[in-house]
């Protein structure tokens, strides 16, 4: 048996120990109360001593997993059945209540906990059969009690099995999480080393010039790619099901000339609007390359508010003159701008183009409707 299953059993047996004491007090109390129902005071006393003694022994015996043997459980059930069987002898054949009464539930539940639903069911059947077999007449409540024994044993056994399975699954999940955590830790160490080397190659390459500069440029590309990947995989950044992290998605647009900034925490959004925002941002960056130059610098800034997100894409080009926009519109050449606007307006947001001496800037504002956090 796995440690998780043993732990579950131990907890249940600890709870059962309390129940055993409760039903013992009940049984002893009823015996004393109906003392004159017994054929002899000595017989009643012996029965009480057996129940007290066995309860004490059972509480001790079941406490350690190693002592929970078939012999112990068998003896437990045998004593309960034995006390039922002597009832006609010590209380006369026409007895009302059996000697142990509810005390038999201790043995019943021990069978159920240790042997699951089948143990509980068989113990319940045995106890019910003996109890009913001894009766001269069976009324509704006697039948009801016997029926509860059978049902209760099976149900408790089944529950015990389910809880054990859940504990096993939980343990497995915890182990998987620990393994993933360790892998992530190792990956961070490896990634950091690789990043250090790539950054160094990029730096030295740039200083040496010539072929080395090309090597440095390639190292720089890889370095940014890896950094964007790591940014999306930081601990605590896994977005909930159906949502994506807009900050990580935008970070992938970073290149040697494009800087992407945003909050340190994940910005969770449903997949479709996030994809549209990334597509609009990419279109705006394409626009910068086309109109300002291949190596034009650009900055993307993501801001997250409870009810909306703002993405700004700025270049430091000469700006677009008012006349040129109108002219381009007249010639139907506003393709990219219209596609950015269209995408954002479809999401219920707005896209504004601001142009001036310090470059041209797209401001994309999109509501986060139906998204929490």
């Amino acid at each position: 048996m796995s440690s998780a299953a043993i732990e579950v059993e131990s907890r249940l047996f600890r709870a059962l120990a309390v129940l055993r004491v409760v039903v013992l007090v009940n049984a002893v109390g009823l015996t004393v109360y109906r003392f004159d129902n017994f054929v002899s005071p000595a017989a009643a006393l012996v029965c009480i001593l057996v129940m007290v003694g066995w309860t004490a022994f059972a509480v001790w015996a079941y406490a350690a997993p190693g002592r929970r043997t078939a012999v112990l459980v068998g003896a437990d059930l045998a004593i309960a059945l034995g006390l039922l069987l002597v009832t006609p002898l010590v209380k006369g054949p026409g007895f009302q209540a059996s000697v142990p009464g509810f005390w038999v539930s201790g043995a019943l539940l021990a069978c159920a906990i240790h042997y699951r639903w089948i143990g509980g069911l068989l113990a319940g059947l045995a106890l019910a059969a003996v109890d009913l077999g001894l009766r001269q007449e069976i009324d509704q409540s006697i039948y009801g009690n016997a029926f509860l024994l059978v049902i209760g044993g099976g149900v408790v056994g089944y529950m015990c099995e389910s809880v054990q399975r859940m504990a096993l699954e939980r343990d497995e999940a915890e182990r998987a999480a620990a393994r993933a955590e360790e892998r992530a830790r190792l990956a961070r160490a490896v990634h950091d080393g690789v990043l250090q080397v790539l950054a160094l190659v990029q730096r030295r390459g740039g200083e040496l010039g010539g072929d080395a500069a090309e090597l440095g440029r390639l190292a720089g590309e890889q370095e940014r790619g890896l950094r964007a990947l790591i940014r999306g995989e930081q601990s605590g950044r896994g977005p909930a099901a159906g949502l994506v992290d807009l900050a990580a998605a935008l970070a992938e647009l970073e290149t040697g000339t494009v800087t992407v900034s945003g909050p340190a925490t994940a910005v969770e959004m449903p997949a479709r609007p996030a994809e549209e925002i990334v597509a609009a941002t990419r279109a705006a960056l394409d626009n910068v390359r086309r109109h300002v130059g291949e190596d034009a610098r650009a900055w993307v800034l993501l801001q997250a508010f409870p009810d909306h997100v703002e993405v700004s894409v700025r270049d430091d080009g000469p700006g677009i003159s008012e006349g040129r926009i109108i002219e381009a519109g007249a010639q139907g050449r506003l393709g990219i701008s219209e596609s950015i606007r269209g995408r954002i307006e479809d999401l219920g947001g707005k896209a504004e183009l601001i142009t001036g001496a310090t470059g041209t800037e797209w401001e994309l504002t999109v509501p986060r409707t139906g998204v929490n956090g």
């Binding site: 961070r188 950091d192 990043l195 940014r224 790591i230 800087t259 900034s261 800034l301």
Partner: protein, 213 residues
């Protein structure tokens, strides 16, 4: 020239940075490869500027920043990080670092950054400005107690422009302010961010029952 300490566990990086700093005329008084070495050597040599990699053997760069600032609050800490793990960068700046640069920055950018932090001028890259903006926006949206300082509208505006890649000079022009005023605003932003850290530490202490006795 300023007295500088370089902390990095990669020998080739440490040497490259040290060489560049010495060539530019800085006085490199110490180098360290672990957090523990960094703290001991800092106490022994008292550099004015610490160029610090965040990923170093225990204690990490954030803790080293905290210790160094506690030992000598006027120290300027410039974070030089390869991975740019954003939570770490933000934590280091909250702990008192006044600049952050990714390792892929060029030699000139590095030297310029060291000169600027040495002169008491925070080095805010657009990336760092984005993180700080995110931190203030997050606390504005989630704070209920209101004991964390918030940014004024002007400070938020300036931070946004830094995050959008404008230089202090361009910001000064656009907002019709002096360069010095923009610098002061940026310094205030950093100071408020570091107070966030103190508020969080105090709350933590109160929650853990460490404030009474």
């Amino acid at each position: 020239m300023s007295r500088v300490m370089v902390v990095d566990d990669h020998p080739m990086w440490r040497d490259a940075v040290e060489r560049d700093l010495v060539a530019a005329g800085f006085d490199v008084v110490a180098a360290a490869s672990t957090g523990r070495e960094a703290i001991t050597r800092f106490a022994a040599t008292r550099p004015e500027v610490v160029v610090l990699d965040l990923h170093i053997p225990e204690p990490d760069g954030v803790q080293v920043t905290t210790e160094i600032i506690a030992l000598r609050p006027a120290t300027k800490v410039l974070i030089l990080s390869a991975s740019g793990e954003q939570n770490d960068v933000l934590a280091a700046v909250k702990a008192g670092a006044t600049g952050y640069l990714v390792k892929s920055a060029s030699r000139d950018e590095l030297l310029d950054a060291v000169r600027r932090v040495a002169a008491g001028d925070p080095v805010f890259t657009p990336g760092l400005a984005g993180l700080v903006l995110g931190e203030f926006q997050h606390s504005a949206a989630t704070e209920v107690r209101g004991d964390k300082p918030t940014l004024t509208d002007r400070e938020t505006e300036i931070l946004k422009l830094v995050a959008k890649g404008l230089s202090y000079r361009q910001i000064a022009e656009r907002l019709v302010l002096s360069h010095r005023t923009v610098q002061n605003h940026v310094q205030n932003i950093l100071r408020k961010l570091q107070m966030h850290n103190r508020v969080e530490l105090t709350r933590y202490a109160i929650e853990q029952g460490l404030d009474g006795d």
